[in-house]
Every structure is written in structure tokens, then in C-alpha cells.
Symmetry: C2
Subunit: 420 residues, 2 copies
């Protein structure tokens, strides 16, 4: 025997901007015995997953598959497969993850031009479009949903402008995919990276991506068959993608009927992704987005009724992350610790300039449930009272419940109208 005990984890209510609670059906799927990577039963699962990812991304793209790594592996895979040293990239930054895009592009040798908006705001599309015309980048890389600030960047005009200027638009939709409407084709997004551990309620460990033929053309020019697999001594392209693991030109061969051996697909995570996507499609994208908005509305009503203030530009608020200003005199981390220890609820702080200044509550995927909203509001109220903050006692949960009641009435009216 060893000193290591049976896995025995507390069952948390996870209300961070990811990772969030995993749907029990997804957990169960992961307990399924594995299959070999080239077993027809498994490649069939891979193909079904690709189909479902196309529905999730609302795209007709041929390529939609996961990278075997956490969300940022998907971002790096897309960027490093497209960027050649010296390429000009424009990155509009409105929070931490814009910096991450910048850093990855720079590491792969891009000449990055950044635009910065104050944290808590987004860009007027015109500002970005003017910069595109000024800089003439090969690529614009931008975050759709900034979890660090709870803001969401409108992409319609930017997509239009990029396509007209023959610029590639790469979008980090890690935090929004599956929780917020994002029509990849309609918005003219060339490549999009999603996340699993947020609105899809699948554990972290895969990064679903999609890209169109404009991206594929670049990949095919940079393609080389792996040493040890190619039967003759062909020279790799001069402009070979640096990473082997993230080489999308090789990965798409692995995900195509060619099934050219690359890595060994992460079987159990594939099972999880397939089941998670099935749940999304069963609920229906529109219903799912509406559910996320309803729970957000209830949460925001409760937060405000308590006497707290939202952080950031409410007009561009990300529906799945709610940022709250920490009141003067209250220690942000002490409140989070009490929530975790006494109520088994996890909420988040933020990064850099916002650390200790705001709380971030995620309402994503399976965590976006009425029960969780009411629980977190009641717990936050109790904790703040305990810490000496003068809340409007008892108002918060009532305000949230009113939102749910009104929603129910509204649905009843709609049903009557449809039925009459």
C-alpha cells in the first residue's frame, strides 16, 4: 500500500469563468473503456465530433477538430501554423488574453502592432478598421470574450473589413463558444478557437478549433510529411511550421480519412467532447444562449439589489461572466476564501491591474443553473454581512427570483399566444 488515499474531492459549486462544473453525463462518458486510435469505432467518434463541432461553430468549414491540449494550445496551434517570422499581426487588446495573443505571435516572430482599450471597455470597430488600413497586417488576432474583464467585442464590422482588405481574422472564442451566439461563417471569421472547460462544461484538456479554406491554403504550402513516415527523402518546405505538435497541416491529415499517424488521440477526452457537444445540440444553440442570458439577468439583478456595482461597460457585457467591483474596505480574497470554505462556492478574482479590485462570477454551461445563481447570491450576501459590508439584506435572492418569475410569465404568455 502507499500513503496516497482514494481520490476524494469536495463537490464544489464552481462559479468562476472556467473551469466550470462538468455535466454529469460528460463525466460518465469519460469512464467508458478506451479504444485504439485507429479502431473504426473510434475514428467514427472522431468524425461525429467534427460534424458536431461544425454545428457548434455554425460553420460549413471542412476543418473543425480539437487540439489535444488546453485552450491555449488551440490558440498557439492556429497562430504558429499561420505565422511566418516577419508577418505583420494586429492585436487589439482589451484584457489579459489579448496580451496572450500578442505574446504568442511575438514568440513565433511576428511583427505585432497592438491597440489597447482600457480594461472594462471594448473597441469601437472603426478604431480597429482604421488601424487595419494603416498597418496592412496579414492577420488580425482578437479575443471575442475577455474573461479577465467580462467584456465582449462585437465582430461583425471587423469581419467584414478584414475580408475586404484580404486580412485573416483569428478569433479567440474560448470563453464564449457554446454560451454566446457566434456565427463563424456569417461573421467572416477565418479561424476560431473554442474552449471546453467553459460554456461547453467539459473538462479542460482539448481545444476545439475551426478554420476555412483561406487558412488551409497557407497550411498546405507549409506542409511537410513527418520524418520517419515519409517513404522518400523529401526536403521539408522552407517555410515549415516550427512546432510539430501544433502543425495543423499534419493534424488535418490525422483528422481526415488519410488518418496519417501523428499523436495518439486523447481517447477519454474525445468521449467527453462528443458527449458535451451532444448535450449542446440536444438543448439547441438558441435555447442554450437564452438560458445563459436568463441566468445572467437573474445574477445581475441580485448583485445590484444587494447594493454592489458591476465593473465595466454594461453595453458590451459578456453574458457568461459578471464582474463586480469589490466594495471599499472589503478584502477580495477573504470573501472568496469564506465562500469556498463555508459555502463550497468558487468565484474568481482577476489579473494584473484588476487583481483584488473585482470579483468575477462565471455562469457558464452546466454551472449556469438557477440553483447555482440563487446559491451564490445567498452565500455572497451572507459573507459580505459577515465581513461588515452594509448590504440590502434579503433583497438579492428575491430580485433574482423575480427575474425567473417574470421569465416564466413571459413564456406562458408566448405559449398562450402561439396556442390561441
Amino acid at each position: 500500500m502507499t500513503k496516497y488515499k482514494d481520490l476524494n474531492v469536495p463537490h464544489r459549486t464552481i462559479m468562476t469563468p472556467g473551469p466550470v462544473e462538468v455535466d454529469p453525463r460528460v463525466l460518465r462518458a469519460m469512464a467508458t473503456p478506451i479504444l485504439g486510435q485507429f479502431d473504426p469505432a473510434f475514428t467514427n467518434i472522431m468524425n461525429e465530433t467534427m460534424e458536431m463541432l461544425r454545428s457548434l461553430f455554425q460553420t460549413e468549414n471542412k476543418w473543425a477538430y480539437p487540439i489535444d491540449g488546453t485552450s491555449r494550445s488551440g490558440i498557439e496551434a492556429v497562430l504558429c501554423s499561420i505565422i511566418t517570422p516577419g508577418d505583420r499581426v494586429l492585436v487589439p487588446i482589451f484584457g489579459r488574453f489579448g496580451y496572450l495573443l500578442t505574446e504568442i505571435c511575438q514568440r513565433y516572430g511576428a511583427e505585432v502592432t497592438t491597440l489597447e482599450a482600457p480594461w472594462g471597455e471594448v473597441f469601437d470597430p472603426e478604431v480597429i478598421i482604421n488601424k487595419i488600413h494603416e498597418v496592412s497586417p496579414k492577420i488580425v488576432a482578437i479575443v471575442h470574450a475577455e474573461t479577465s474583464t467580462g467584456c465582449m467585442q462585437p465582430l461583425k464590422e471587423i469581419g467584414e473589413a478584414c475580408r475586404n482588405a484580404d486580412v485573416l481574422l483569428i478569433v479567440d472564442a474560448v470563453a464564449s463558444i457554446g454560451g454566446v451566439d457566434l456565427k463563424v461563417d456569417e461573421l467572416k471569421l477565418d479561424a476560431v478557437i473554442g474552449g471546453t472547460q467553459k460554456c461547453l462544461s467539459i473538462p479542460s484538456g482539448l481545444a476545439p478549433i475551426t478554420y476555412n479554406h483561406r487558412i488551409e491554403e497557407i497550411l498546405l504550402k507549409r506542409k511537410s510529411i513527418e520524418l520517419g513516415l515519409r517513404s522518400f527523402q523529401s526536403e521539408p518546405s522552407n517555410d515549415r511550421i516550427i512546432s510539430n505538435y501544433f502543425d495543423l497541416a499534419q493534424l488535418q491529415d490525422y483528422w481526415s480519412p488519410v488518418r496519417l499517424n501523428h499523436h495518439t488521440e486523447a481517447t477519454s477526452m474525445q468521449y467527453a467532447l462528443r458527449e458535451g457537444l451532444r448535450i449542446v445540440l440536444e438543448e439547441g444553440l438558441e435555447n442554450r444562449f437564452a438560458r445563459h442570458k436568463l441566468n445572467e439577468r437573474a445574477l445581475v439583478a441580485g448583485i445590484k439589489a444587494m447594493g454592489l456595482h458591476l465593473f465595466g461597460d454594461e453595453k458590451h457585457k459578456l453574458p457568461v461572466v459578471t464582474c463586480i467591483e469589490v466594495p471599499n474596505g472589503i478584502d477580495s480574497d477573504e470573501v472568496r476564501s469564506m465562500l469556498l470554505e463555508d459555502f463550497e462556492i468558487e468565484i474568481a478574482s482577476s489579473f494584473g491591474p484588476l487583481h483584488g479590485k473585482i470579483w468575477r462570477i462565471g455562469t457558464m454551461g452546466y454551472s449556469s443553473r438557477k440553483k447555482n445563481i440563487l446559491h451564490v447570491l445567498a452565500a455572497l450576501e451572507a459573507t459580505l454581512i459577515r465581513k461588515g459590508f452594509n448590504v440590502n439584506k434579503g433583497e438579492s435572492v428575491q430580485a433574482a427570483m423575480n427575474v425567473y418569475d417574470e421569465n416564466k410569465q413571459q413564456q406562458n404568455i408566448e405559449t398562450v399566444v402561439i396556442g390561441s
Copy 2:
């Protein structure tokens, strides 16, 4: 509802050189609800995993943690974090995965010198040592266990020679770790990459690595804090690691008490790794290696008794992969298909020059069981008879059973001697 049905996979006997069957305890662990990445309950699991990895690698190294990706992500992480363009790397190649090491090193700008041994053989350490003195590389990168040929390279003299010449020795032990004895410190290996989906019987998706202070010194010189996390505008090192996702200097901060945010750890895969390591340590490394050898002995006895021939240098045979020459007139893939369809057993072919020439049977981790050995021998015999090959009927399973019986008698004798 969608057209996608409930996950319903066939339950295969997986006898490939990976991925292999996952221990049911590991599958069950993955169905555990997740935790936030900075939840103390989760960071405790991370710390326990590091401890157990040190035991697995038989090392006192401070750093032993998994990369969030499949095995080759671990290889790329180690190599790309150490290699600066222009560095000289020596790669002795004796199968497909030596080519992979070569390819990754070249992609990151190394000047690679290769040595090649015929597939099915390993190197006389002297040959490698002489080349080290001739080339004076910064790094020797070598595969320990080549699953493509079923051969295992002795490392003792090479480790000694590298240390004396102040060369870094990086070892791909993806296929051997947990199934074959590999004393990282005693052998003077500077960095080692293990695999989960082979002798650990955990699904693919994490790559455990370990490295010593010689490697860490290089990392610390190349370290930069991620843009968006650093509070002042410090310039990154001139010699910055290209990949962000694979930047070991950042990853070790994430795995240290500093817990500097990087990716979101793959929770469910962590649970799997912890449980898988616990099973390894409960069995005990020595017992585990002995079990793998016993099952290999039984398999080999059965294969030979059937009238088939092993491929490769038996003196350097990898105990967890058995390569068998496909007899003349037999279609390798037809046999594999019949095994899969009729007997639900998966065995493997090989790559490049060996494709269609050999079968590879893995006896790794949870798949290395008496039941599986007897099942695969009986099924292979029946299939070969069906395909018209003249086997020694009925001999194979008997030969394997004899090995198990002799082993039991031997154990009984030892028990009596100890008890007397």
C-alpha cells in the same frame, strides 16, 4: 434530440504498443466532479502527483510533472525549452521515434547529427560515445524503448559518457516508463519524457516529464513572465523559448507553490494520472516490472510454439512490445482485421520499412494480463489457420501456460525456502 446516439463503444482487448486498456480504477477516477485549478483540494492533488512521479522516475529531481498534451507534447516541451537555434544535437536513430526526435530538434533550429542503426537493432554504446566525442553536441536525444521495432537501448554507458563530457542526455521513455526499470538518477539522465497510454494504463492526453538542475539552469536563463501577468514592462530574454504552451520555465512556476497562472490544468486527466500512479506504487515498481517480464515470456513462448518468428535482436528486446515476422503469403492487415472483428483484439502493424512486415503485440500496464496473453495467442492461432498458415496446432497456448506454471512453482519454491 439529435441524430447522435449514446456513446456505446465495443469493449476491446487492446494489445497494441499503446494506447492500451485503461485500468478500471483510472476510468472511475475520471468520472469524479472537477475542481477549480487553484482550489487547495486540487493543488494538493497536483503536489501528490509530482511526488508519485518522482517515485515512478526513480529520481530526486525537484521537477516531475505532466505536460497537458499527448506524449509527443512532452518531447516537444523538453526539446524546445532547451534548444536554441544553432545548438548541436546528436540523435541516434533505431526506429521511427528517433526520426521524430530529429524532426522536432530540426524544427527548433538545432544542427542535428544523426546516427542510424538498422531497424530491429540497437546501438553499441561505444558507437554513440565515439560520436559524442567527435561532434561535441550540447544534447544527445535518444529513444529508450522503440515501439516501432520492439527494441530497447541500454543507457548506462551513454549516461556516464554524457555526464563526463558535459552533454545533456534527453531520453524518450514514453513506451517504457512504468513497465521497464529506468532509474533516471542512477543512469544520469538529464530529462526524461514518459507516456501515460502505455505502461501506465492511463488514457492518452498527458505527458509526464522530469528534469534535473542542469536543465533547470538553462530554463531559468530563458525565462520570461507572460505578457499580461508581469506588472512592469520588462523585456523578455533574448533567448526566449519560442513556444508559450511548452515553456517549461513558465510551467514549473505553475507547478510550484508560486502557482503563476498559465494554462488551466486538465482536471480529469490529472485525476486519471494520480490514480494510475497510485496503482503503480501499490503494485510496487519491482513487482510491476516482473509482471511485465512474465507476461512477455509467456507470449514469446506461445508465439514461437505456434511456429512464428520474432523480429529483431532478441538480446535487446523491449519486454513490453513483441514484434513478430509476418509469414510469407499472409496478409498482415487481413489478420489484424479478423482479430479485431471476430475476437475484438487489437494488435498493431508498424511504420515505414516495417509496415506489413511485422505485427507488434503490446503487453503494457493493465493489458499485460495472463487472460489477455492466452486470449491473443488462441485468437492468433485460429486466425492464421483460417488464413491457411500451417501452425503447430494447439501448442501455443500450452507453451504460454507452461511458463505461468513454471513461474508459480518457482514462487512456491522461493516461499518454502524463505519459510524454512
